[in-house]
């Protein structure tokens, strides 16, 4: 199958250097030769082997932005974008390296005590420790304040009771950054994050959940039954900081969702343009039908507009200026467009678009989650809606 990648019609305004180009080449080679070909096998298994995490660690592709003292490569945000784009480009849904590198590691780096950083970060960068984040519960998704997992203070630590669901990397995980209530009466101020080793007594994993798509990625329920953790497991060592800690990170997480959705659009477009050029019907190429050209013209326009907006968001983020509402706009719009465009691309593939051997069919099922995760798009609209002005009540 075509592994091409549609190029945006305007040149990138991001400050990429030659070094980034070299990095991109080696990242691309890794995903194309070592990760993408294994997807069918891992989809059967519904999980990725630990060896591929170790391999990414060896190559310096895990947590590259960490300072060298914690095992990182001192990379910048553009390296992170390259990793995400190249993984999408290769068609490799799993492993979810970005969750390790860009979601969990920053929690430790930004909020952890020195001891916590030294304990976990080098192992995460080498791939010896696979991490996950435990926020969502059966009755608390986007509404984080509604979580019911509790951490009760005892003399020498905390006892954690409760359960989580939809936890990515949940089966593989050695470490869970777990959101718990340390004060059930304090609302958002009662939420704290804990670093939980999965070999702790009282920790257990539920099923590896069967999902609509993304079959090579493990997603689990987690259970905590009077699980005792030491005081040093509290992230940053201070209770009640969990909510602002989570909130502070959302802008970047949503930006990364945008990066990946835009990359998915590029991939879908490239493979569809190739398909409609190759395939004939009624005596002409599918591309030669006006409807095909118009549909793809719309999609290419959306891709170009999104590239420009994404680049602005990335540059603002690198300057520390990207605000929550704008990142919410990016997340909402890019994921909506990604789903709409991939759907159009399936349509242009005809019957083949419904067959999972064709990457576009996989993209259709794998991509549906983007409108839900990282804050459902309804939450994005809520965030944007709060910035409309008009006197607040």
């Amino acid at each position: 199958m075509s592994n091409a990648y549609a190029q945006p019609s305007m040149p990138s305004s991001l400050p990429y250097t030659d070094e980034h180009a070299i990095f991109r080449t080696s990242v691309r080679r890794f995903f194309e030769t070592e990760v993408a070909p294994k997807q069918p096998e891992w989809e059967e298994a519904h999980i990725t082997p630990r060896s591929i995490w170790k391999r990414a660690g060896e190559l310096g592709f895990l947590c590259p932005r960490l300072p060298e003292q914690y095992g990182g490569a001192g990379a910048d945000f553009l390296h992170t974008i390259i990793l995400a784009e190249e993984q999408v480009r290769s068609g490799a849904i799993a492993p979810m390296y970005a969750l390790q590198s860009d979601v969990v590691a920053p929690y430790l780096l930004q909020y952890g005590t020195e001891e916590q950083k030294r304990h976990y970060l080098p192992a995460m960068a080498s791939g010896d420790c696979i991490a996950s984040i435990g926020m969502t519960e059966p009755s608390a998704g986007s509404d984080l304040q509604a979580i019911r997992t509790t951490a009760k203070k005892l003399n020498d630590g905390y006892t954690i009771t409760g359960q989580k669901t939809f936890i990515s990397n949940g089966i593989n995980a050695d470490l869970v950054v777990l959101a718990c209530k340390t004060d059930t009466g304090a609302g958002a101020r009662g939420v704290s994050l804990f670093l939980v080793d999965t070999d702790t007594l009282g920790f257990s994993r539920g099923r590896n959940l069967k999902k609509l798509g993304q079959h090579a990625a493990d997603t689990a329920e987690l259970f905590f039954d009077d699980m005792h953790v030491p005081e040093t497991a509290l992230l940053g060592g201070v209770e009640g900081r969990g909510f602002p800690q989570l909130m502070d990170r959302l802008v970047e997480e949503r930006l990364m969702t945008g990066v990946m959705s835009v990359a998915m659009i590029d991939r879908a477009l490239a493979m569809t343009i190739q398909y409609v050029k190759d395939r004939k019907a009624f005596g002409q190429r599918i591309l030669d039908f006006q409807n095909t050209r118009f549909t793809l013209a719309e999609a290419k326009t959306e891709a170009t507009v999104l590239h420009v907006f994404l680049e602005r968001c990335i540059l603002d983020f690198m300057d520390g200026k990207l605000d929550p509402a704008t990142s919410a706009m990016l997340k909402y719009w890019s994921t909506e467009q990604q789903n709409a465009i991939v759907d159009d691309c399936v349509q242009l593939h005809g019957g083949y678009g419904y067959i999972l051997d064709y990457p576009i069919a996989k993209m259709w099922v794998d991509g549906r989650i983007t409108k839900i995760y990282g804050g459902a798009n309804e939450i994005m609209k809520d965030i944007i809606g709060r910035t409309l002005g008009g006197r607040a009540r």
Binding site: F294, A297, K300, T301, T326, G385, L388, G389, G390
Partner: protein, 380 residues
């Protein structure tokens, strides 16, 4: 908010002038002009005096020596008071450049200074009953008669067709040569025997702007009325100007989206139903969040295209993308915002009703949606 490498504080000073002009000279006259279906000619003189015409034209020819942002500011300020259809941009930024870029020195000296004062009000006559986007199909002819040309044919949907006294006319000087047979002529209507204006056409929106049929019955054109003095250059002249013309349409589209959101937030913040403000209903906030997202993304894309344009790098395809995307979204936003106004949204005294009706033209004029997609589709 404009974010361009080329936008300066001096532009903001100009904005203050334009805002005053719009509020004083235009806003009070809406009903009157709307009923007349046209702007009065003294408006054009006043605009000229205030420095609002030919802002980009070189000062050597009486213009303001400005840039695209002067056009942008006028469009944004007229959009603010919901005079979306004022055609200063057409006169100054679409037609004047034809003369300045392609005209002979004599043509520039003869027309540009008087266009800058508003003495001449310009129109461009391309479209015909049987030739819209497909310009090569025009049938109006200009035949050489030894002492110039004889113009015969008719045009339709010509903006400023009633108020204009200087018309750039596209005609075939060689009917067998396809696109290479098209030439542009500068027609002064006061001197033109055989020229008649048809009806001021009734439109869905854009009520203050006149749109006309024009008829040419053996109209004499002196040799010096041929734009640039060389036959057969019309088609490439028109083509080269299209990216900027589409960029200008996108400016209006983005400004309209932004204003529609602001007005609708205001309206839904005041209006109550079922015991709460409309703005407090989740659907209202979500719909407005969607509209605002489109406006913000449209503005970001516009900013980028303006910078590319100023730096000489905006290509035809990207301009087509910009025009299609922004006018398409503008229509969606206007419709959604009208909906949130309820019955009032259907009343022409509300800005949103006018924005809704006016915006529909954006997807047709300056090359239809379909032409934009065709242009983009060719790059696949």
């Amino acid at each position: 908010m404009i974010r361009s490498r080329h936008y300066t504080p001096a532009h903001e000073d100009f904005r203050a002038t334009v805002r005053r002009f719009m509020e004083k000279e235009c806003a009070p006259h809406r009903d009157e002009w709307q009923a007349a279906g046209r702007t009065p000619s003294d408006l054009w003189r006043k605009a000229g005096e205030a420095g609002l015409l030919c802002t980009k034209t070189s000062s050597e020819y009486g213009g303001g020596g400005g840039d695209l942002f002067h056009c942008l500011i006028i469009l944004e300020e007229q959009t603010r008071i919901c005079f979306n259809e004022l055609t200063f941009y057409l006169h100054s930024d679409i037609i004047a450049p034809y003369i300045e870029l392609y005209g002979t020195e004599d043509q520039k000296r003869q027309y540009l200074p008087k266009m800058a004062t508003g003495e001449f009000v310009a129109a461009i006559a391309m479209t015909e009953p049987g030739a819209g986007s497909d310009l090569q199909a025009i049938r109006t002819t200009a035949k050489s008669d030894g002492n110039g040309y004889r113009l015969n044919g008719q045009k339709v949907f010509i903006s400023n067709g009633q108020v204009g006294n200087l018309i750039v006319v596209a005609a075939k000087t060689d009917t067998g040569a396809g696109a290479k047979g098209i030439s542009l002529f500068l027609l002064e209507t006061d001197k033109a025997e055989g020229f008649t204006r048809g009806k001021n056409l009734k439109k869905i929106g854009c009520k203050v702007q006149d749109s006309s049929e024009l008829f040419f019955d053996n109209v004499h054109l002196p040799p010096e009325s041929l734009l640039g003095g060389v036959e057969g250059q019309g088609f490439p002249m028109l083509m080269r100007r299209l990216p900027e013309e589409r960029l200008i349409m996108a400016i209006s589209a983005v400004a309209n989206m932004e204003e529609a959101v602001v007005e609708t937030v205001e309206y839904t913040g005041e209006r109550k139903a079922f015991g709460q403000r409309l703005l407090d209903f989740q659907n209202t906030r979500f719909k407005l969040a969607e509209c605002k997202t489109k406006a913000v993304i449209g503005r970001a894309f516009l900013d980028r295209c303006i910078d590319a344009f100023i730096e000489g790098e905006l290509d035809t395809t990207t301009a087509a993308m910009l025009k299609w995307w922004t006018t398409q979204r503008q229509n969606e936003v206007a419709d959604e915002c009208l909906q949130l106004h309820g019955g009032y949204g259907y009343m022409m005294e509300y800005n949103i009703a006018r924005r809704y009706a006016d915006s529909r033209l954006g997807r047709i004029a300056g090359g239809t949606d379909e032409i934009m997609k065709d242009i983009i589709g060719r790059t696949l």
